[in-house]
Symmetry: C2
Subunit: 212 residues, 2 copies
DNA sequence: TAAATAAGCACGACCGGTCGTATTGTTTGA
DNA sequence: TCAAACAATACGACCGGTCGTGCTTATTTA
């Protein structure tokens, strides 16, 4: 942000466009995202968008990055306020489900939707989404590893395995909550984590404490 | 199927079209499915498709139903050959993962892809997909309930909860296997089920036996 | 300090192409 | 001969993208 009126205006438009693009792409898909529709939502002309991104694909890539920063702000940051270890893992899981439940993105989960959209379509968008997903997986594994290091989980735990299972619970919630019963989805996803941790966790209070 | 050559020919075209439609829609999405592309793949003109379905949406709905029958043939039927109870639950889970690994549908999982495509888009297609998913969930819960009834799982088990967790493992595999490492995805999905069942299952041999 | 130039930004009009769809005509087979 | 199956063609709508233009603001020049 700058006091420079010119740059400030462009920056504002860019940000508004990316915000709207994430919302629209979450509903219609990154491919189904229409530039005319996006321009209308912004109250700008379609051709004006091409002043900021040289092609639709460039805008789509920017939208992915923008969704990552939103995800970091809304889910990672709150979770990192919880103490390291099992409680932080639980906080991350809960923050994710809270974000879904908040309907901040009415279309569900941007990443789940777009990753399923592109998982059979090679190209730059798929690569970017895959890299994004890989970073998320690494982040989740790190948090589980911290719980192991803190002695809150068994030393011989298969960390990537548990991280996979946690991610699966959240991903299923993203779909289940839109297609069937939202309440049941979030309840099952939360209980699923506790069910899985219970036999692993020597200190049961780590599973009963609230995370907020 | 009939000996009537005229009807047989139409029936053959319809079946071939639905087969191809499921494959293409798995890759490009139900909406991204192009009738021109579908007609080309069949060696048929685009307008000919409208002789069999009055609109694209009608074809899409038929494709969903067709994918259901394929799913029943390829996944449900093999699983039902396993003995009732925990072994049948495992067999279903494994059959699902085997189907993904077989690459019979190069685009991944038809249902996961399309359900994420439409989970924010109300309409007949979304309704049909939701109903399909509900039936799958019921089927899975029934199988778990049978294991409870057979005394192979605790009588006070939360059946829908466990069914949700099993489904989540498979769904995550459908995405993980396309975007990151397929081998890791299937391994984690399989191990995930055993990890979850182990504390519940009084008879450990039910978890070590092969399922094929 | 004032004028001139350049750059950022947004607009409306328009392009070629593809989409789903309707119409009309031809082939096919009992 | 009759109806089902298919082909050919065209239509209107929408797609991403380009072009020329004008307005606003920053930078350079006199």
């Amino acid at each position: 942000m700058t006091v420079d009126g010119r740059l400030a205006r462009g920056e504002r438009t860019r940000n508004a466009a990316l915000d709207a693009a994430v919302v629209l792409a979450t509903q219609a898909g990154l491919d189904g995202l229409s530039l005319a529709q996006l321009a209308d939502a912004l109250g700008v002309s379609k051709s004006g968008l091409f002043a900021h991104w040289r092609s639709k694909e460039a805008l789509q890539l920017a939208a992915i990055d923008h969704a990552v920063t939103l995800w970091k702000q809304r889910i990672l940051a709150p979770a990192l306020r919880a103490p390291r270890g099992v409680r932080r893992v639980r906080a991350l899981h809960d923050a994710r489900l809270d974000f879904y439940a908040s309907q901040a993105l009415p279309g569900g989960c941007f990443f789940a939707n777009t990753q399923f959209e592109f998982n059979a379509r090679p190209g730059p968008l798929r690569d970017r989404l895959a890299e994004t997903y890989r970073q998320w997986a690494v982040f989740l594994e790190d948090l589980v590893q911290q719980a192991v290091d803190a002695g809150e989980l068994p030393a011989d735990l298969d960390v990537p395995q548990l991280a996979y299972e946690i991610d699966a619970l959240g991903m299923a919630a993203a779909m289940h909550s839109r297609l069937l019963d939202p309440d049941a989805a979030y309840r099952h996803a939360r209980a699923g984590l506790l069910n899985r941790l219970r036999p692993l966790c020597p200190d049961p209070t780590l599973l009963t404490e609230g995370t907020s």
